[in-house]
Subunit: 301 residues, 2 copies
């Protein structure tokens, strides 16, 4: 499969520069101490480097996917938002996310009996096991099943299987393009159990609002309840990541988690970003986002 | 006055690179189309350039202060948070903020009879009038008085004068160092009227948490009620800016604005970021921030 991204990210004078034509003229740079992996898989360019101040960094097709220092912000939000909107999540599917970070968070719930990871690129799993162990170590947990396969295809072939499905995809201009289409949301809907929820990487509101509007509208054609939340991840361009949620339940109030986590829970689960108040807050969008999405997103007030 | 910053921000191959020793190895880059101003005032290096995708950009001592495209996020939060915690703000002081952006927001309140701008650097005011008119045009409003003077000194000499004081300062490692000290908070306290409030630029939680803890602790020694809020500004490093609030009122609930803005109000006031819900939720901090600040910040739950 040929990736068709047009990024020109480079390492120059000891700095990694993230460049993407979708956010032309705006770039995050990280100082590089050592390049650990630089190779081309069947699906994408894979780069892992040791940075000066953010630990090891995974880059796919030129775009930062995670850094050891701030990955917790993203993994916690994309996981604990949907998990705390389901009364008892038992079987969870993670599409993409071969780094293992989301799985690590999912496994914190005692109700979970099985987590399936469906990652298309075995090489991502392999290099993360070696260089991002704080995320990927959990992949050996007995509750985890790994399929190296196309996520959309897996979802299509496994109807009525999962309580929560998390799509931890890169941006929609490369290998993951199919994971942002209406057809995929339809298949996710079929793959869920009765009270099931999805949560997907939802792009960055300041730069991608027209795309986000399109994606959320597609999702709303399939799911009776659609929510959109925001959280801060410093090394994602513009500093804010969106999370798109869909539920099979009518009139779900996304801002109300079904269980509140006490300070003791937060400690036990080692949560550094997510709290029950952060959950509620995440659905209150800045006015420019709220007005753009209010016709298609139920959680917009 | 000699500025003592150690930034090495540069324009190289058509890109502006922001570099600061406080957040070593992490940098925001903006593509430059044209340099409009590059000069040294009595107090600092001043750079204004036209960027490829963020409009004109003001840089002081190598650090991005505002861009035309995303300045609204910052100006709205630093202004409307304190303004909506005061029952009837009439006289408002803005310390720093020679670009005029905060003044523009303050003038949106009909109750306001006078806004005083106290900016130490006349050159900042002059270049902003020329190159950032969407912010600086308001400085000719009849309700505005401009003092080109040291903010700390002005505050010291004007006790019991202002209902709201907004300190729109650069980071504490240059000309603005005095504006982050306990002595300054003491003087602000004296300068306020009975139910007065302050709101200050509060640094970036992901990178400056130890400094923020120190600053908020100093503030708490002076003000009976202290709040700390967050908002997203894409071109500030890490994407999130903090706002430190102090009130002379005991037990003020910062998360409850004294007036709620309707959709019509938001339209009339041309607010693109701030809403009353955004106000409330801005004080809900990610767990790592909440646990670091909860002993000194009253608004931390």
């Amino acid at each position: 499969m040929e990736s068709n991204y047009k990024n020109e990210s480079v390492i120059e004078n000891g700095w990694f520069r993230e460049i993407n034509t979708s956010w032309d003229g705006f770039s995050i740079n990280l100082k590089v101490e050592e390049i650990l992996v630089q190779q081309k898989s069947e699906f994408q360019d894979i780069l892992i480097f040791k940075s000066k101040s953010f630990g090891n960094v995974l880059v796919l097709n030129g775009i930062i996917q995670c850094t050891e220092r701030d990955e917790f912000t993203y993994q916690e939000m994309i996981t604990h938002l949907p998990m705390n909107l389901h009364p008892e999540p038992r079987r969870v599917l993670v599409v993409g996310g071969g780094d293992g970070g989301v799985i690590r968070e999912v496994l914190k719930y005692k109700s979970v009996t099985e987590v399936v990871l469906c990652e298309i690129d075995q090489m991502v799993i392999d290099v993360c096991k070696e260089h991002l162990p704080s995320m990927a170590d959990c992949l050996t947990d007995p509750r985890v099943t790994i399929h190296t396969a196309d996520g959309a295809e897996y979802v299509r072939n496994n109807p009525n299987q999962f309580d929560v499905i998390i799509t931890d995809a890169p941006d929609p201009d490369g290998v993951a393009a199919d994971l942002f289409k209406k057809k995929y949301y339809q298949e996710l809907h079929t793959c869920l159990t009765e009270k099931g929820l999805i949560c997907c990487q939802g792009e960055t509101v300041f730069l991608d609002l027209p795309v986000i509007k399109e994606i959320t509208a597609s999702c709303k054609e399939i799911f009776p309840s659609v929510g959109y939340a925001l959280g801060n991840t410093p090394t994602y361009i513009s500093g804010v990541m969106g999370y798109l949620l869909g539920s099979k339940q009518q009139n779900l109030d996304f801002s109300k988690p079904v269980r509140r986590l006490s300070d003791e829970d937060l400690d036990t689960m080692k949560l550094r970003y997510y709290t029950s108040d952060v959950h509620t807050t995440a659905f209150n969008l800045p006015n420019y986002v709220r007005t753009a999405l209010k016709d298609v997103v139920d959680s917009c007030r």
